[in-house]
Amino acid sequence: MSSTPIRVTVNGAEREVEVAPNTTLLDFLRDRLQLTGTKECCDLGECGACTVLLDGRAVNSCLMLAVEGDAREVTTIEGLSENGRPNALQDAFLAKGAVQCGFCIPGQVMAARYLLSRNPHPTLAEVREGLSGNLCRCGGYVQICEAVLAASEAGT
């Protein structure tokens, strides 16, 4: 299949690349850029494991094509920390015990980041609504929601 040139900013770095028009944003991030922090589970937009920010909005990267990233800014979980140091939101996930197996956590963190960017001081109900598209089978929802509220209080 022919390739399409795109110019996409990923975690602050602008890249000019050629991608096949049927390559998903998720595959582009994981397979091309080796940004494997973004996870693949259902590949149908149902579980939230692949959540990234596109121009600041949370999207399921499995439902986006890489070409849709053209002239836009993508932030993945790797883009939140500097030199491997967690930011306050990630710290809150650790402190509250929100991380069990951890497979869903990058998606949870990105969804939480988006929620807090829209609504810096959400209620518990708003956190539950905002994260309802991100499945966690370890069932760590109580702690995940506590972590988001704690990060909110800390003014993340």
Binding site: K39, C42, L135, R137
Partner: protein, 727 residues
């Protein structure tokens, strides 16, 4: 250190996206594998035409059963019944009939679509009734079990447990009911994935397994290699819950790697993962006798458990769970008759609770029925019958090893049992008990380095339960060094010593003791070292190591093990090392117009002996409770008439989300330091889901007056029951 909530080892990598799960491992020049399966439950394979598929650019190999060693190797944790690829017939929806390996995943997918399979759909066995029909097709060829008198039926195993004389038992009240528990799937968020590569005359397998040493054993047998030539690397699984306990496609990728001479990777889709693992469904018929004061007189239990097409470990699930089918109660006379039935469905396997949620659904609902009939309080009837510490509630076996009544009282208190309750609301409370590991063997090597830091080698898998953290805590405590200076290495059969498996909530007890003993071995060596050097007793470890090793350097190596031996003749192969006892209490509000259940408050109490890391215990128990709410309220696999799963995937098969959480949730523990693990600990982490269904259902009954004996308690099912009540 012990009893403190140390942060999760590996937590930082998980929140920053740096944790390497199996799908994140990229080997150079790896081939991508795609499986070919048929859209029906049971079919005879007439012919497989791979010509068009092999024309696809980038295809390197296509395997069907005909391309495998003959007879096609079969494997399984207990019975060697599962072929590497379907032979002659597909036995369940999703069983692969061919595998394509190609240079890219796109090529593999395209070629898999082009593999033409001519097949004849056959009638299948998808229910208990169908499995027992004498005219039903046999799921497994009798030749697979030549010495088994049941080989000409779909009954894999019949179990008969019991004591006393049920026929002679006297009762003032006999409660008789049937209960059903549906097929549900594990749905770890990480789909199953397998990588293999040729390696120095052998093979190396990457698999997110709970059981690297069993995988090693099975691969070695299938390939005819010595254990030492099979290396299994087990990255921390992204959730497992029993679904990643036993091999699935490891033998296939190993063969493909050796056949092609290249690394191969097989990442299942979520839908394919659904088709690989599930909980055993069942139908349980129970007669329970009671005296007028609520004392249990007898239990007469007949149940049928529907396994899949291959036994996997399901026979063991049924054997263990039904051994305790009467629950944690004193039952003078018991008769437990169980059939394990094969069917043309997804092989059922280990799943958190290991059959206990199924049996507790029946025994707890029976107690509630009796309490209602006799006008007794539902907590009181449990307290009256619960075994007391030291009491052999299964005659001759491990006696009650905890103050179980304390757990019940704690849960009742937390749910404010007996206090006035609003109209439309109800409360329920239920208990469950699981036999922990019977046999087991865990070995650990601890290396105390010359700078005073330590590496702990342990074959446990950390699939989210936090074993890595807890084992580091044990080592830090025993060696008296900071936890930050300890690294726990797991998941590589070439690096860590043998561990039987990560299952049955055993790791804290078995591997915890092995690590503690390895550390004590080091401490003994250090004491000897200090004495030899004539150093005073309170010299620090680092000073001692420097004094001993000087500039040449070195390390002190400690070895520890913990075993529980096979007991010939014991129905379980050995007595349970401990019991996992759990109590759940729930308060619900039912919307009678819709049948929707709102969980107002949900409490679990786990008797953990000693919580080595309270935060980890809480996470595990709350997580288990959320998972239990799944099979209680919404989860069930639906099959059509041809055995196809109709609700594959996250949208059609619902699991709990943040919006399904109870308004309030508590995970409490009872700690009496009465377990066999380090510092009196017992296993934990399964209990929170073992009694969810009966507790919630009991609350629904109090709220609405309707009694439901099938799961899940979907709004439709609850609404229909309410409609019938009002007729």
């Amino acid at each position: 250190m012990i009893g403190t909530s140390q942060p999760r080892a590996g937590g930082l990598a998980r929140v920053t996206g740096r944790q390497q799960f199996i799908a994140d491992i990229n080997l150079d020049h790896a081939l991508h594998v795609k499986l070919v399966h048929l859209d029906c439950g049971h079919a005879r394979i007439v012919a497989i035409d791979t010509a068009a598929a092999s024309e696809v650019y980038g295809v390197v190999a296509i395997l069907t059963a005909a391309d495998l060693p003959q007879p096609v190797p079969r494997f399984g944790p207990v019975h060697d019944d599962r072929p590497i690829l379907a032979v002659g017939e597909t036995k369940y929806h999703g069983q692969p009939v061919a595998a394509v390996a190609a240079e890219t995943k796109e090529a593999a997918e395209a070629a898999a679509e082009l593999v033409r399979v001519e097949y004849e759909a056959l009638p299948g066995v998808y229910t208990v009734a169908a499995a027992l029909d004498p005219a039903a097709p046999l799921v497994q060829e009798p030749g697979l079990r030549p010495d088994d008198p049941l080989r000409h039926s779909n009954v894999l195993r019949e179990l008969n447990y019991g004591w006393g004389d049920v026929e002679a038992a006297k009762a003032d009240l006999v409660v008789e009911n049937s209960y059903a528990f549906p097929m549900v799937t594990h749905f770890a968020i990480e789909p199953h994935a397998f990588i293999a590569a040729p390696d120095d005359g052998g093979v190396v397998i990457w698999t997110a397994t709970q059981n690297p040493f069993q995988t090693q054993r099975i691969i070695a047998r299938v390939l005819g290699l010595p254990l030492a030539r099979v290396r299994v690397i087990a990255p921390d699984p992204g959730g497992a819950f029993g679904g990643k306990q036993h091999p699935k496609y490891e033998p296939l990728v190993a063969l493909l790697a050796l056949r092609t001479g290249r690394p191969v990777r097989l990442l299942l889709t979520l839908e394919e993962t659904f088709q690989e693992v599930r909980r055993t469904s069942c139908e349980i018929h129970v007669r329970t006798g009671f005296q007028a004061d609520g004392t249990i007189s007898f239990q007469d239990i007949q149940s049928d458990f529907l396994l899949g097409a291959y036994a996997d470990v399901a026979e063991r699930v049924i054997t263990k769970a039904n051994y305790l089918a009467c629950g944690p109660y004193r039952v003078p006379d018991a008769r437990i008759t169980v059939r394990a039935l094969l069917s043309h469905t997804t092989p059922s396997t280990a799943f958190r609770g290991f059959g206990t949620p199924q049996v507790s659904w029946a025994h707890e609902s029976q107690l509630d029925d009796a309490a209602r009939c006799l006008g007794l309080d539902r907590v009181d009837i449990r307290l009256r019958n619960l075994a007391r510490k030291g009491e052999a509630f299964v005659p001759g076996d491990t006696p009650c090893d905890g103050d179980w009544a304390e757990s019940v009282r704690k849960a009742a208190g937390a749910i404010e049992w007996g206090s006035p309750i609003a109209a439309g609301r109800g409360r329920g409370l239920a208990v469950a008990i699981k036999a922990s590991a019977t046999t087991g063997a865990s070995y650990s090597i601890v290396r105390l380095h010359w700078d005073g830091s330590a590496t702990v080698l342990a074959g446990t898998s950390d699939m989210g339960q936090g074993a890595r953290t807890v084992l580091a805590q044990v080592a830090a405590h025993e060696l008296g060094i900071p936890i930050d200076s300890i690294k726990v290495v797991m998941g590589d059969t070439a690096a860590v010593p043998f561990d039987l498996q990560t299952s049955a909530s055993r790791s804290t007890v078995f591997m915890g003791q092995a690590v503690a003993r390895a550390c004590r071995d080091i401490n003994a060596q250090l004491r000897q070292m200090a004495a030899d050097l004539g150093l005073v007793a309170n010299v620090s470890v680092v000073e001692l190591l420097r004094a001993r090793f000087s500039e040449v350097r070195g390390e002190v190596i400690g070895v520890g093990s913990y075993r529980s031996e096979h007991q010939p003749g014991h129905p379980l192969g050995g007595s349970p090392s401990f019991y996992e006892f759990s109590c759940t209490a729930s308060e619900v509000e039912v919307d009678e117009g819709t049948g929707q259940i709102l969980l107002v408050r949900h409490v679990t109490v786990a008797d953990v002996g000693k919580a080595l890391n309270p935060q980890h215990v809480e996470m595990q128990d709350e997580g288990a409770a959320v998972m239990g709410l799944g099979h209680t309220l919404m989860e069930h696999i639906l099959l059509d008439d041809s055995g196809r799963i109709r609700n594959l995937g996250a949208l059609d098969y619902r699991i709990p989300t943040t919006k399904d959480l109870p308004l309030e949730m508590f995970a409490l523990v009872v700690e009496n330091a009465d377990g066999p693990g380090p510092y009196g600990s017992k296993g934990a982490g399964e209990g929170g889901l073992m009694a969810t269904a009966p507790a919630v259902a009991s609350a629904v009954t109090e709220a609405t007056g309707v009694v439901i004996r099938d799961l899940p308690l979907t709004p439709e099912r609850v609404w229909r029951a309410i409609q019938s009540r009002d007729l």
